[in-house]
Amino acid sequence: MTPEQMKTALTQILTDPDNKVGGNILGTYTLPGGSVVPAIADEQVPDDWEVRGVEAILPIIEGGETSWRVRHVVKEQRWDVQLIQWPPAEGEPNRLRAVVDRLERILAHSFTVAVPADDLLGTLPQARVSFPLYELKETIKSFCFSP
């Protein structure tokens, strides 16, 4: 599965207004030209893009983990989604909890590492949702591309 396909699937889960779990809860990028796109990216976006709400970043290079079964070494491919809560648009609530909640409900074998905001260091609240690849494949089959 390529990062592009992964991005498409996650965008559909988090932004599609017609899907089964509710509406759009992902944040937005406002490009210098004025167009608005969903805030999901492979890496850090240019500085002049304005971010609002929850930003999702899929780091492309993330090592798989090996684990020991009875006498075999098994390679598991995991994907991480990094979620960052930027100041939301006016009149909108902070939606980090909702995004984590939706991903956790759809990807049952995922785990989340949440880091709260730190006022002294000036960091934003963030969370990392990590899930095995097979789970998203099943999700796409049964969820995203169903008629």
Binding site: D47, I61, W68, V113, D118, L121, G122, T123, L124, R128
Partner: protein
């Protein structure tokens, strides 16, 4: 007539010993990873540390004043379950962070590096067999 003798207690003792030794080895390896400079992925510029040291580039340790290193704690919870915990800002070192001005701190997953370097399954098997 066949008689058999259970040696479950002896086997369990060996399992427990192997677990204890592996856990200690991982603990030591975590300290080592925090203290030893290594190449962390990500973009790091020049950092002026609180200890007065100035470091630049990706090849660095995560020691500074030693708060992270000293706050590491291994707590036995159950017979085959230990918890490792660290102090206040450890989550930001481990997970990375985004500052309000848009700058990013790359994650440094020292637990993953230590788990790889400590070779936990192999250590467990070796300790069980000796």
């Amino acid at each position: 007539m066949i008689t058999s003798k259970s040696n479950k207690a002896a086997v369990m003792k060996r399992f427990e010993k192997a677990f204890q030794e592996t856990s200690k080895a991982y603990d030591q390896k975590l300290h080592e990873v925090i203290r030893t400079p290594m190449l962390w992925p990500g973009n790091f510029g020049v950092t002026r540390r609180r200890s007065g040291e100035v470091v630049s580039g990706n090849f660095r340790n995560i020691y500074d004043l030693g708060d992270l290193d000293r706050s590491q704690m291994r707590t036995p919870l159950e017979p085959f379950k230990d918890r490792y915990s660290w102090g206040h800002h450890s989550a930001i070192v481990h997970e990375g962070a985004t500052l309000r001005n848009g700058k990013k701190i790359a994650p440094r997953r020292f637990t993953r590096v230590a788990a790889y370097e400590a070779a936990i399954p192999q250590t467990f098997v070796r300790e069980f067999n000796t």
